[in-house]
């Protein structure tokens, strides 16, 4: 969903940071993508290959760090992996939970050789 727009935003962040650090080439981009974020990494790669042409990030390797969905029960403080259907706390059964991981979408770091 919206991979074209977010890939453009990602590239803007990368080129901005590369400029600030005085890089003349970006070889690798490390991206953190949470499993609940809804973004298809193959689509991000596809759009990146197109959008990064003629920039210093052209041909850079995209490395996706996938984060599994996790939650914390507000009642008993148990931290647990979020399954597909039932988001109740596996310890006390409460549905008062807070998603603690899995919604990320960020540029973690960039690398130049």
């Amino acid at each position: 969903m919206h991979e074209l727009a977010i890939t453009q935003s990602m590239l803007d962040i990368v080129l901005g940071e590369a400029g600030k650090s005085g890089m003349d080439r970006v070889n690798r981009i490390n991206l953190v993508v949470g499993e609940l974020s809804g973004y298809v990494t193959d689509s991000i790669q596809f759009y990146f290959d197109f959008l990064a042409k003629d920039s210093i990030a052209e041909g850079a390797e995209l490395c996706f760090i996938l984060i599994e969905a996790r939650a914390r029960c507000r009642r008993c403080e148990t931290d647990f992996k979020l399954p597909e259907f039932d988001w109740n706390c596996p310890q006390c059964g409460s549905g008062d939970i807070e998603i603690t991981a899995g919604r990320e979408l960020r540029v973690e770091s960039i690398e130049a050789d």
């Binding site: 977010i6 549905g95 939970i97 919604r103 979408l105 540029v107 770091s109 690398e111």
Partner: protein, 215 residues
Amino acid sequence: MEVKVLKNILSANDRIAEKNRALLDENGVLALNIMASPGAGKTSIIMSTIKALNGEYGIGVIEGDIASSVDAEKVSREGIPAVQINTGGGCHLDANMISDSLPDLPLDKLDFIFIENVGNLICPASYALGDRRRIIIASIPEGDDKPIKYPIMFHDADLIVLNKVDLAPYVNFDRAAFRQAIKNLNDKTPIIEVSCTTGEGLDEWLTWLKAQKIK
């Protein structure tokens, strides 16, 4: 050489949403992000609310659609300030669109702004607008499994309104299954059953709404 970046890709939208929220807070306006599938009853609930409150509160509306101004016109005919956003293909509203709309509303005279998002149970969940309440309108004809199919949207809701309960005798809808599915995602979220056609349940919705007003 590795340079740490640690930048959220949607941070541009989030920053604008924060500015929107600050402006609304300054003016004591509570914005509600109304989200649902097309046809579930977003406009209907807004219209029913406007008619029932009958000037008791200052209301403004921001309408989001791909095309047409049908909804904003309905609202304007009731004498309520309304702004129509046409996304021209965009499947959700974003903070920038709201930021552009707020200057066209008399914020100092409003208690509530209803932001009617584009009909879509997926994309709006990812885009903060500056609202303080997320309302999901579900409806009887859509079936009771929508919370299972769209977990993030239903988990994030501050209130779920189940509309078109007058149609319950004519379609398969397991209310207990629907309620359990929502409880499995977030057991704190209230569920209010309404029919915008018959008026059933609207009092309960209005009571909830009035309790949200920024003092």
